[in-house]
Symmetry: C2
Subunit: 198 residues, 2 copies
Amino acid sequence: MANGGPEIEQLIQLMARLPGLGPRSARRAVLHMIKKKDGLMIPLSRAMERAVEAVTICKVCGNVDTRSPCAICADPRRGESGLLIVVEDVADLWALERAGVGAARYHVLGGVLSPLDGIGPDDLSIDALIARAPEYSEIVLAVNATVEGQTTAHYVTDRLAGSGLKVTRLAHGVPVGGELDYLDEGTLSQALKARTEI
Amino acid sequence: MANGGPEIEQLIQLMARLPGLGPRSARRAVLHMIKKKDGLMIPLSRAMERAVEAVTICKVCGNVDTRSPCAICADPRRGESGLLIVVEDVADLWALERAGVGAARYHVLGGVLSPLDGIGPDDLSIDALIARAPEYSEIVLAVNATVEGQTTAHYVTDRLAGSGLKVTRLAHGVPVGGELDYLDEGTLSQALKARTEI
């Protein structure tokens, strides 16, 4: 009753489960939708319905797409470079694609090793990575620069040790547009160590 | 392509138009949905579809409900008190209902007077309020304590002047649980003026 009928109440409760939204902001979002019913709520409802039907997870790399193998895995030009970029999450894959990484394929681990949270190697897509890695010439471990990310990178490197594959990681350094004054000591010291000639 | 197909891209763009979400958080929300397809995305899609079909605006008071007149306007016990609470927005109505205001009816203005934004009396549901006000014995102006809100309250009071109706506003004072030290001078001075005997 309070929030105008069970349909609206249920919609608010489901919206509140999205990351970044709480009960209050979900209520605001739903009210905004209702006010812009034709312009926003109906298109959003249809887009969600279409996405539910279309979306699938790529069986090869773990990417989210409307087909499996995904557009990246199905593109033969992507394989020519021999570059396989290993990421924690689909969001990281999207971020690299937005950065225009170019010809490369990806492998989504689906998380990082985290003994405290009970996440071991079997919970991640590591066996599948080891199995497909020999098809490529270089494996780039593009995991987050966190403790768990680096632990995962070490573990994957160990598993790939005997394969003769080149294993690399992303460069550490000063973010483009970043001010030195605001950077942490770890990043600055890494950036100095890895200095390049102009 | 970048974000896994046009269906996903479109869903992200529409989600980004909700208040409190930007392009980045919309992407996060959509990825979260896709990962929890059965538990969240499908129920959310259905809830949205149901809400699109069910939701309507009450022709009497402007509330959002699944029928018009809304449940509040249709409930005869709500009318007995003779109390009509005037609010700016449906969100305020919901807030008052959550506060357990009890037997009262509402009137949603749909905004506040704001000459700078070109919002005049004809853009709000003021004529409808004047028309239905005589059915009630007391009109509570529960508008926000902002300049625009108070301007609107003054205007509505002027329009109701000759009707002989009792027009009231919400009390100003110390919020329950609030610390005096953090309150602004205006609120404190109002709270002192309106002090009550224990």
